[in-house]
């Protein structure tokens, strides 16, 4: 795998950012886009545009086929059993909201428990929070350990006869911990509890096999997977999509609409009300092809090497404290720097063209537990190199110099 060739496929790196070469270390937030994805959006709008699924004219039929092709590409990419188990949403956030809302409506009541973890991104906590008020449910949080991991034991300890659903991250966007989602799913299923996995950080970096993992729901954020913004995917087992009520009402999701009542359409239309993000869906097909061409195993290997290298150089830097040291870790390096607040780090690094994230990374529960209001985070993508990490370290030393005078 030649990283320079891969990097050349991302037009953002052709331009200087404030007179610097861009060192992009914010892929956990959102990844950059390869040319093929950008081109696909342009081509669709300039040569092929039409709305999907409604009209019978040539362009409409072609657009519908393109749209549905992506569904099949995604199905194969994550090894789902059926293309109808792939629902397009406006983002992973909407995917989780969809499940929280419909599952909550149908299956949850007073005193029922939802089990999350302390690692969760706000998007896998806030949607469930609404059910506290509307349904009187309780939310429990499985604790993370001193390495920043949530273990199977920690999940098991928090399951009670009242636990009705478990919703967990695949890969923590702060500590980088990869959760044993397959084992958690086995355990949960042995007690008849369904499992939702927030795959925002897992999907861009790890090989996915829905049938092997066995989880009931898996939420994906396409813009973190070298794809367009405004698009997410909910993988859900067919048995759930069939029994859960519709989420949003509108055109495209109905069978028959009468004054006295409405019947709803079949899958996948039932969950795709209104005009969807058509161009994005079609362009996301190119993201999947891009990932397939390189091979997710190769990406994983490359990112693992870089993560280890990053940890190594940051550990050598005495002023840096890494957050979490999970045994099974994704390509996220969160840290603090002695005497320098994360936001000051981010501003100073930015002057060198080094783009990182600073703040609570939408994980306030985690930061509160660590007693930190903010951390800095460097996160990796397929286009990163050891050079990028060296530049990060150099800029961190510059921060120290400015602050120590």
């Amino acid at each position: 795998m030649n990283i320079n060739n891969i990097k050349k496929q991302f037009p953002i790196f052709n331009n200087k950012v404030q007179n610097n070469d861009l060192v992009y270390l914010d892929s956990a937030n959102s990844s950059q886009k390869p040319q093929v994805v950008v081109d696909r959006i342009y081509d669709f709008y300039t040569k092929e545009f039409s709305n999907v699924g409604r009209s019978v004219h040539y362009l409409a039929v072609a657009a519908t086929n393109l749209y549905e092709n992506t569904r099949v590409l995604v199905q194969k990419y994550i090894n789902a059993k059926d293309p109808n188990e792939i629902v397009f949403t406006k983002g992973a956030t909407e995917a989780i909201n969809l499940v929280a809302n419909t599952f909550g409506q149908k299956f949850l009541g007073e005193g029922d428990e939802i089990l999350l973890t302390e690692l969760e991104h706000h998007s896998n906590y806030v949607p469930w929070h609404y059910l506290r008020k509307s349904k009187g449910v309780k939310i429990k949080f499985a604790e993370f350990n001193s390495d920043g991991e949530v273990t199977l034991e920690s999940i098991e300890k928090n399951i009670t006869p009242k636990t009705k659903i478990i919703a967990i991250t695949h890969l923590s966007n702060v500590t980088g911990a990869i959760l044993p989602i397959k084992e958690i799913t086995r355990l949960a299923h042995s007690k008849n509890i369904p499992v939702l996995v927030d795959g925002c950080q897992g999907a861009p970096h790890l090989k996915l096999d829905m049938q092997e993992i066995g989880c009931d729901f898996y939420a994906i954020s396409c813009h973190k997977m070298y794809g367009p913004t405004g698009l997410g995917i909910l993988y859900a087992k067919k048995k759930w999509l069939e029994v859960l009520p519709p989420y949003q009402g509108g055109g495209g999701m109905i069978r028959e609409v009468k004054k006295e009542g409405i019947t709803f359409g079949e899958l996948p239309n039932k969950y795709e009300a209104g005009t969807m993000a058509t161009a994005q869906v079609i362009a996301f097909g190119e993201s999947i092809k891009f990932l397939n061409k390189i091979g997710i195993e190769n990406i994983e290997k490359h990112e693992n090497e870089l993560t280890k290298y990053g940890e190594e150089i940051l550990r050598k830097n005495n002023s840096v404290k890494l957050i979490g040291s999970p045994k099974d870790k994704g390509s996220v390096l969160s840290f603090t720097l002695d005497g320098v607040h994360a936001h000051d780090i981010a501003t100073i690094l930015d002057e060198d063209g080094v783009a990182i994230r600073a703040g609570h990374h939408c994980c306030q529960i985690l930061h509160d537990k660590l007693g930190l209001s903010a951390t800095a985070r460097a996160s990796l993508g397929v286009y990163n190199t050891k050079d990028d990490l060296d530049k990060l370290n150099e800029s961190l030393n510059k921060c120290k110099k400015i602050f120590e005078g």
Binding site: Q18, G339, V340, H341, A342, H343, D344, T347, I348, E351, A358, G359, H360, Q364, H367, S373, A374, I402, F403, G405
Partner: protein, 156 residues
Amino acid sequence: MDLKDLYQEIILDHGKNPRNLKKSDNFNKDAKGHNPLCGDKVHIYLKVDENNKISDIAFEGSGCAISMASASIMTDLMKERKEVEVKELVDDFLEMIKQNPELKSKILGENEKTKLMSLSGVKKYPMRVKCATMAWHTLTAAMKNANEETNTDKFE
């Protein structure tokens, strides 16, 4: 852009050793401020006497060098100020950060102006403006003894 404008000596000094950073026991007005974007927090305590003068001021909080320095410099500056002066200084500071090249207030000495102007570096860093202004908005809320937390999302 120049980092030296943003991280001037005065800022670094006040950021590292903030003045008046303590919980005041003897206060009669207070307010909290919060920047939900980054999690920075400030809690301002005031002792306002019967002549509407700030006889004591302190703050608690955590945040970046800019927000800590801003709260530190501001609290130093507000001691023994009357309510009308506080309002004038807050408005003048916020206008300077927003658009004015200089501070206009006549009640400030040259030394005090220099200190305050050291925060003007944020003008070139739009993402950091709220770091500098949060304490000032919170002071206004504290003068009114506001119960509700001052939230940077609501700033102009």
